[in-house]
Subunit: 106 residues, 2 copies
DNA sequence: TTGACATGAAACCAAATGGTTTTATATACT
DNA sequence: AGTATATAAAACCATTTGGTTTCATGTCAA
């Protein structure tokens, strides 16, 4: 019975370069769809779809303001990205260690 | 003229849950395809395809050893994940702060 | 050398992805 | 009231994705 709360997860959401760019944009400032679209070589409709996917992953939310819909970044789910990353690189020391160990094999 | 050196990048590579699991497996131990396959409810061919994608992203490499092909993890490209992550969460303090603030909601 | 095992490669398929165009609806402006 | 603006929603489409099955090739072992 467990509901499929989110169709898209964070990993899928950031798989697309356009969506990563959108997140970057929104990290500076809340923006309406049309403004976001102006930064990309594609239709507003395409951007709206990307925003929906980001929204399903709870990385952004949109609030209607007059006739505009203002989107805002919510970076919290990206923490899952960090948890994943740290399965492999738990700290900077381990990275250094790895690099040293493999120095000669190159 | 710039060649598309890699068909798949890290972000695409880790978008699939099976591939993330494969990376996790390989983080413990180098493994041949058949052994990897035994951990998943799908065919060896399917796993081989996932390995190719991971390989294109340079997250794994495979070396023939007798009739087996042993795969090994190369976590280096995951550093890009970290760079992306830190665009939004620049330091551990902000993460800690967030986690503490949301402790009770679990 | 024959058979079992491990992988590779190709053809095929349904569903998802990432885009388009068209049409509709709600809001703001004059 | 009528027009322009901002978004939404739907139909459509080509390509990619994630799987399958089938067949071929190389290697080990008896």
């Amino acid at each position: 019975m467990s509901q499929p709360v989110h169709k898209h997860d964070v990993f899928q959401a950031i798989a697309d370069p356009t969506r990563r760019e959108v997140l970057k944009l929104l990290s500076e400032k809340d923006l309406p769809i049309s403004e976001i679209t102006s930064h990309f070589p594609m239709s507003r409709t395409a951007i709206a779809k990307h925003l929906r996917i980001l929204s399903e992953a709870e990385l952004v939310s949109g609030q209607k303001k007059g006739r505009e819909k203002i989107y805002r970044l919510h970076p919290e789910p990206l923490i899952e990205l960090r948890r994943f990353y740290e399965q492999f690189w738990s700290n900077k020391l381990s990275i250094l260690k790895y690099m040293v160990e493999n120095e000669e094999e190159k």
